[in-house]
Symmetry: C2
Subunit: 270 residues, 2 copies
Amino acid sequence: MKSEIIVYTISDSLGGTSRKLLSAVSVQYPDLDFNNSYRFPFVNKEDELLGILKDALNDKAIVISTLVNAELAETARNFSQRTGLQYLDLLNPFFDLIRARTGKKPIEEPGIVHRLDKEYFNKIAAIEFAVKYDDGKNPHGFLESDVVLLGVSRTSKTPLSMYLANKGYKVSNLPLIPEVPLPQLLAQVDKKKIIGLTCHPDNLSRIRTSRLDSLGLNHASKYTDLEKIYGELEYAKQVFAQYDAYVIDVTDKSIEETSYLVEDYLKNLE
Amino acid sequence: MKSEIIVYTISDSLGGTSRKLLSAVSVQYPDLDFNNSYRFPFVNKEDELLGILKDALNDKAIVISTLVNAELAETARNFSQRTGLQYLDLLNPFFDLIRARTGKKPIEEPGIVHRLDKEYFNKIAAIEFAVKYDDGKNPHGFLESDVVLLGVSRTSKTPLSMYLANKGYKVSNLPLIPEVPLPQLLAQVDKKKIIGLTCHPDNLSRIRTSRLDSLGLNHASKYTDLEKIYGELEYAKQVFAQYDAYVIDVTDKSIEETSYLVEDYLKNLE
């Protein structure tokens, strides 16, 4: 059985930063179990905070805090020093560096929750855009897109589109199918915005096979046939050349990694 | 003009945790400009790291690191102590707490990039599911969903679906339109999985107006008419009652906040 580590994340907002750190840390300990960790968002009263810290002590938990309120953060720090609670403050060391340099203090307003600003609404609009123009549903979206993703089936166009949309990019995507002519509108798209996704044929076959499994279909299909896949990828290569597409090989890459490569490419265009 | 703070984020993986922290910190300083910050992912050689740290020193940058490699992290720490570089290590203090408690060391494998595990593929499948069953496109998705979102137009069904999908939930959503009968399949859905989204009529009118603006349409429309909106919301209320839906008021809530409330509700069902 795995040893258990209990982590409490405490925030006066949602605590997304702590959760992200916890996730990054937990993968470094495959033989420790972090599953009984607890999330405490919207903590904004001292007595509530002290109650959570006492529970943490009883649970022998590690506490990660992203409290922006200086008084609450100090309460937690004092409590931990007094009781020996394992306590990690993510924000204040950063605040201290900025104060040392500029003399400036944080505004201490809980973060994400009320940040319904222009950037936020752009992101929401980008997500709706990506859903609307997924899978070549409407080629008119190509002209308004920041990036148009092309690729054969199962090269991660949809999840990549959603991931980039979540960063505010307007993304459309088009599946490449040798039997289906390309929409004429594609020729009007700025070629720099066109990105081709490719993948090693063996991986593609494996991914398609497990896709059919999950759909409860059998494998005796052209869809997973290697020769057919070679043909599709060859066709994709021609399309990429024709449109001068920037090509990314997604083999063994996570969506996050591919998304980073797309962003990096787009930033270097500017 | 805003004072400028330059932040370098260094990681042997993608550096998503540092970026998230940087974003949480930067909103606390509305009059500081963090825009000239740099992201250095996939750093895995000492000379490369030292080059970046020297640049950081020249740029008077603050450096945030999520290096999992102990040698690289030590190199950075030593360099900073020697030169006075402002340096913040996010992972090692956490590693130290775990070592103090369990004696265990991290496996030091760069994180996210190669974590193409079951959880990851579930998330990808959930994103594809949410796109496929967005906007009531196919009511058959309701039966396979972890959660079915109902709401009138502009109650953030689509972005919320994508956000929850990114956390691995299978989500479908259905727009409530008084003139359109509900799909019969909805009656077969486990009522506990049905969540109704509502919003204050004034906010809804404002959101719809800016929506029409962004589409270049004028406002003399039933769509933004308050009386019409009251009628729609009244109808939604009846549907929520009929299906025993758990109702969330999204007025002034960010998608992240609503998503947290949905997750919290689903977890308490278990």
